[in-house]
Symmetry: C2
Subunit: 295 residues, 2 copies
């Protein structure tokens, strides 16, 4: 990763974290335990990949200023809620995330369910209250977020993923799960950023395709790292897909086949960007980063 | 209850049910199990009190036509999600609701969590996609729904209610819980209906007060019925507040004290309506109904 991209990621994370924390600290959430539980998971960090992709898409199409921040924050809140609920005992039953106890391990299941609900609920008014976005733009962004995150999007992906456990999936089924579970929110990031920069409808369609490709790139690299990754860099155990008997790209296509498939998507993603005539190379760089990341 | 009000309630329930079912059946929810789980809880019925109050408020201020229906549907979806999550083992751990198995008993916990998430998520785009509402009105209604349902509203009420279990609450604490847990969404119903009918800001403020009163009336009568109600009419066991050691109005004020408190709120609610100069007696009737209902 180039030093410039590293700085870009750090700056994006910083801006986003500042914005979300300030926003949520002003909320009069009750009771204290619930507020702490919400803040605990929001503070836990992570790459902030979705908001950074939104910022990058916004800037790549000439967007300037802060109007993208509330939408980026809302998206990260939705992503965080989904992690809290996915970690629950009834779902993936995970005790640790990003090196710290999962929300329900720290605050109990009831509070974790409510903290997730609270983040999801709040995300919509974060967009609704944004001062620099027009009402018709807000309606588009809020409705699209609902669609991308709901039972026709991310939630469908999570439910399908659970149903696919201990079953042999086809490549088609695997891609459907990833397109829904991961792809929909990543695509939202790209499309919302481009939309706020005021691109034409045709460009928005191109960005939808680009978003789908980077969702798949992200997921294939995730699967590859679970086979070839370095635990100390990755910060989580490798081989868990094998243990959990999950269908993955390396399992269906072999390791080289999975890499080849990913390279195909990287090419297609670059093509989308070229057709969209963007003014910066940031989204190109991020595409490469997603396909070569080691954690 | 007058025959006219009974018809009014039935007609309202019918309109609302038709609207929601048609809407959700068109959604391409995946997988089938999740779609079934969502439809199961939405079909379970109940009084549809919140949407009916919204319709009544809308009509009382001269609102006509269908523009209120999507907002009423969204509110009922939020209410239904909250019941699914509240019934979960980690929360109230209920096996039955409205005479049928709770969602998690029928579909398992994971699916119930996701079905609740899906209904909450979808509620916002139901408003966002409404064809007869202006974008600025949609933004107000979506943001206000987020606020009323979130960690400064209904979710806060549920969390405070759980914390209050097995503790002696003061009347102040009890009313705070009810104002948040039940009052916020009931108030939303009234305010959104009046707002869509185009009332002045002063009238909206009056309707916020009216909503708070009917929330308290609803809750006190709930507590009273748990002491004096007829199980066969009520459709659920009485005395459960005693068993669960919950703070209630009759416990804090005595049965007669609770009734007197409720009558005070009924008077205040009527006063709000008189000051708001409404054109029909429907909200008056519904106020009386809420304070005298037997189920």
């Amino acid at each position: 990763m180039s030093e410039s991209l590293q700085d870009y990621l750090k700056t994006g994370q910083y801006r986003l974290n500042e914005y979300i924390m300030e926003l949520l600290e002003k909320d009069k959430m009750l009771p204290d335990t619930l507020a702490e539980s919400v803040m605990y998971s929001m503070r836990a960090g992570g790459k902030r990949l979705r908001p950074i992709l939104m910022l990058a898409a916004f800037e790549s199409f000439g967007g300037q200023g802060e109007k993208v921040l509330p939408v980026a924050a809302a998206l990260e809140m939705v992503h965080t809620y989904s992690l809290i609920h996915d970690d629950l005992p009834a779902m993936d039953d995970d005790d640790y995330r990003r090196g710290q106890l999962t929300n329900h391990k720290k605050f109990g299941e009831a509070t974790a369910i409510l903290a997730g609900d609270a983040l999801l609920t709040r995300s919509f008014s974060v967009i609704g209250q944004a001062s620099e976005i027009r009402p018709d733009e807000k309606v588009y962004l809020m409705s699209y977020l609902s669609e991308a995150a709901g039972a026709t999007g991310m939630i469908a992906g999570q439910a399908l993923d659970m149903e696919a456990e201990d079953k042999e999936s086809t490549l088609y089924e695997l891609e459907q799960i990833h397109n829904l579970k991961t792809g929909k929110l990543l695509t939202y990031a790209i499309v919302a950023g481009a939309f706020l920069a005021g691109v034409k409808p045709e460009t928005l369609e191109l960005m939808k395709r680009f978003g789908t490709y980077i969702g798949l790139i992200f997921q294939i690299q995730d699967d590859i790292l679970d086979v070839t990754g370095d635990e100390s860099v990755l910060g989580k155990p490798v081989g868990s897909d094998e243990v959990n008997n999950k269908s993955t790209y390396p399992k269906l296509l072999g390791l080289n086949g999975a890499k080849a498939q990913m390279e195909k998507y990287v090419d297609l993603a670059h093509q989308c960007l070229e057709q969209a005539d963007i003014k910066s190379s940031r989204l190109h760089e991020l595409t490469v980063y997603l396909s070569t990341r080691t954690s």
